[in-house]
Amino acid sequence: MFEVRFHGRGGQGAVMAAQALASAAFSEGNYAVAFPYFGAERRGAPVLAFTRVDSKKIYRKTQVYEPDFVVVLDDSLLEMVDVTEGLKDGGVVVVNTRKKPEELALGENIKVATVDATGVALEVLGQPITNSSILGAFAKATGAVSMDAIEKGIMDIFGNKIGMKIAEKNCRAAKAAYDRTISADGRPREKEFEKKPKWLPDVKELPIGGAGVKMETNAGMIGPGSFLENKTGGWRTFMPIVENDKCVACQLCWYFCPEGCITMVPYDNNRFKKGIAIDLDYCKGCGICAHECPTHAIEMKR
C-alpha cells in the first residue's frame, strides 16, 4: 500500500489530481481511493487531498497521517505548511517550483523532486493550472505508477469533468512535466518547522453552547473579531493594482469582494470624488474585484 498527500490551494484542483492518481493506479489493476481533507474549502486557502493505493481492496476509511509521497502544487506553501509532516523515511516530495531540488531544504532521508509545472502548464495549456502536470512529475519521481496510467487517469477524471479535448491537452502537459522532473536527495532543514499550536479545550474548558467571547488561547485569539488575526493576504498569488483615476466609485468591487477588504476613500483631496483602497493584509488575490469593475480600474498582477 502507498499513501499520497497533496498540498494545494483552494481552486488549484488538488482533489482532481488525487482522483486522477487513484484512477491511474486503478487502471493498472490496483484498488485505489482518493478523498479531500474533510474541511470547508475557500478559494486560495491551503487545502489537502489524499490518495491511497493497494493491490487488494482497501477497507480503512481513516485519513492519511503517514504518507509515502507528498505532492506540493504551489511552492508558496512550503513556508506556510509543514509539507513533510508524517512523511515516511525514504519518502518523496514532489514540488512545483522553478527551483532545483538541491535548493530546497526539506529534510534528510527523503527524496525531493522538482518541476516547473506552472511553466509547463502555461506552455501547453495556456493557463497556470498545474494539477495535471504535477502528476507527470509524480510518475517520474516515484515510479509508483506509469506515465501511461497517469494519462488514463487524466482522461478518466478530467475527461469526464471538463471534456476529452481538454483532458488530452492535460495529458500532454503531464508528459512534458514527466520529462522535465529532476530529483535529488533531501537536504537537512535549516531550521525546524514551527508547528502552529491548536486550541483543544476539554469538556470543562469548552464554552457552553459554543457561545464564546473573544479570548486568548494557546493558539492565539478566538471568538468575535479573532479572524482579524487570520491574515488571508498570505494566500495571494496575484495582487490587485488600482488606478483610481479610472474609478467611478460605483462600489461594485466593494459589494463583491469576498474578504470585505475594500473601502471607499476620498480621492485626490476632492470630497466629491471617491476611489478605493484595498487592505492587502486580507486581500487574498482572488481577482473578483478586477473581474467586476466596469471601468477596468483594477488589474491583477503577479
Binding site: 487513484a22 482518493a34 469538556v203
Partner: protein
C-alpha cells in the same frame, strides 16, 4: 463497467439506472453532487426524467410524494438540516405507503453547525415509517439504491426507503465501483407498476385524505405489519441480487469472522469497513473477535441480533450519534431487542461524532474493552466516549 467514482456519483448513477421518472431535490452539502450529477445526466440526454427544482427540502419531499402518488418512480436526496426540514412530509410518504427512495448523506444536524459525518440527522427519523439502510462503501451505495426500489415497491412492503451514507467519507471519496449496465439494471429492476395509488382519470381515487379514529389504528397496524414483512423481502432481494451480480450483503446484517468469536462489535456505516481491518489484525494476534454489520435500523434485525448474543460472551454497539441522557440510538435499539434474551455484558461506544476520524486504534480499544467485559462477565462502562477530551474512556 468499473470506474473510480464518489459515493454521490454512485447514488446518482444508480438513480439513472433505476430509470426514475421524477427527481425533486434541493442542494445541501454534502449531498449537492447527487443532484448536480442527475441534472447533468438529464442535460446530456442520458437520463429521461422530470427534474423539478424546488425552493426547499420540505417542497422537495412534497413534490416527491405527489409524484409517487401518481404512480411514478420518484427519487430525492438530502442531508442533515434538509432531512429535518422534510420531517413532516416523511410521515406523509410512509402513511400513504409510497415507495420513494432517498439517499441521505449523514451529516451533523446543528447546533453546532458542521458539515461532517454524524448520524444525528437520521436517528430522529426512526419513527417516520421509512426503511433505513446504512452502507459502508460506494459500491454498496450504488447497489442499495437499486435494491431499495425492489424492496420499497414490493407489494408486501410499499414503504419509502432511505439509503444512509457517511458525509465525505463516502460522498466525496472516490473508489472503484462496478456501475451497472442498463440491460442488467432493467433485468433486476423492472418498471414500477403501482397497484394501490396512481393517477388514472378513469378511476379517480383519494389519497392522504382526512381520516377519523375509526380507521387510523388499522392503518397504523397495516404499516407496522408491512415494516415487519419487509424483513423477508430485504433478504429475498439481497439473495437475488447476489445471484445475478455476485455481491452478497447478507440481508439485514452481515457477520464478519463471527465463527468462534467471543465478543461481537455491532457497527453502522463506514466504521464497519475500518473495523474489518482491525478484526483481521486482532485475529492474527489470536484474539477471538468478530464484527456484525447492522445494515438496517428499520426494520430492526431483532432475530439476527438475538442470535449473535446467544453465541458470544460480550456485545458492543458502535454509535455516531447520541440520544442525550441515554446513549447511542443503535445501542438503544440493540438493547431493546436483547431485553429478556441475554444476560451478557452490553456496552456502547461513541466515536466519530461531528466527523472526527475513527482510527484503527479507537476500534482496537472497543474490542479490547469487550474482551475484558467478556472475561469479567460485567460491563466495565456502559457508555464509552472514545477519544473525548476530558472524559475518561
Amino acid at each position: 463497467m468499473k470506474r473510480v467514482v464518489t459515493g454521490n456519483y454512485a447514488a446518482a448513477f444508480a438513480a439513472m439506472r433505476a430509470r426514475v421518472n421524477v427527481v425533486a431535490a434541493f442542494p445541501i452539502t454534502p449531498q449537492t453532487f447527487i443532484v448536480e450529477h442527475i441534472s447533468e445526466f438529464v442535460n446530456d440526454g442520458i437520463m429521461d426524467c422530470e427534474f423539478i427544482r424546488v425552493e426547499s427540502e420540505h417542497s422537495a419531499m412534497s413534490a416527491t410524494v405527489s409524484a409517487s402518488a401518481t404512480g411514478a418512480r420518484a427519487f430525492t436526496a438530502t442531508a442533515s438540516q434538509g432531512l429535518a426540514l422534510m420531517h413532516e412530509i416523511l410521515f406523509t410518504a410512509s402513511g400513504m405507503r409510497l415507495p420513494i427512495v432517498m439517499p441521505v448523506v449523514n451529516r451533523t444536524l446543528a447546533a453546532p453547525i458542521g458539515i461532517w459525518a454524524e448520524m444525528n440527522d437520521v436517528m430522529p427519523e426512526r419513527d417516520a415509517g421509512w426503511i433505513l439502510a446504512f452502507v459502508e462503501d460506494n459500491q454498496e451505495v450504488h447497489d442499495m439504491v437499486l435494491q431499495a426500489y425492489r424492496i420499497a415497491e414490493d407489494n408486501r412492503v410499499l414503504l419509502p426507503m432511505m439509503v444512509n451514507l457517511d458525509a465525505f467519507i463516502l460522498s466525496h471519496t472516490v473508489e472503484p465501483v462496478d456501475l451497472m449496465e442498463p440491460e442488467d439494471a432493467d433485468r433486476f429492476l423492472p418498471s414500477y407498476k403501482p397497484e394501490h395509488a396512481y393517477l388514472d382519470p378513469e378511476r379517480p381515487m383519494g389519497v392522504g385524505i382526512f381520516t377519523p379514529p375509526e380507521y387510523i389504528q388499522e392503518e397504523r397496524y397495516q404499516t407496522h405489519a408491512a415494516m415487519e414483512g419487509s424483513k423477508q423481502v430485504i433478504k429475498e432481494v439481497n439473495d437475488e441480487f447476489a445471484k445475478m451480480f455476485g455481491r452478497d450483503y447478507g440481508g439485514l446484517v452481515e457477520e464478519y469472522r463471527m465463527d468462534d468469536a467471543e465478543v461481537a462489535l455491532l457497527t453502522l456505516g463506514t466504521v464497519t469497513s475500518t473495523a474489518r481491518e482491525v478484526v483481521d489484525n486482532l485475529r492474527a494476534e489470536g484474539k477471538k473477535v468478530g464484527l456484525v454489520k447492522v445494515r438496517f435500523l428499520r426494520p430492526y434485525p431483532t432475530d439476527e441480533i438475538r442470535s449473535v448474543a446467544s453465541r458470544v460472551k460480550a456485545i458492543g454497539i458502535y454509535d455516531r450519534a447520541i440520544s442525550y441522557g441515554v446513549g447511542g440510538p443503535a445501542y438503544i435499539e440493540a438493547r431493546s431487542a436483547l431485553y429478556g434474551h441475554t444476560d451478557i455484558p452490553i456496552s456502547n461506544y461513541l466515536a466519530g461524532i461531528g466527523g472526527r476520524d475513527v482510527m484503527l486504534s479507537d476500534i482496537e480499544f472497543m474490542f479490547n474493552d469487550l474482551l475484558k467485559n467478556a472475561e469479567s462477565g460485567k460491563v466495565r462502562k456502559e457508555l464509552v466516549w472514545i477519544n473525548t477530551r476530558g472524559v475518561e474512556q
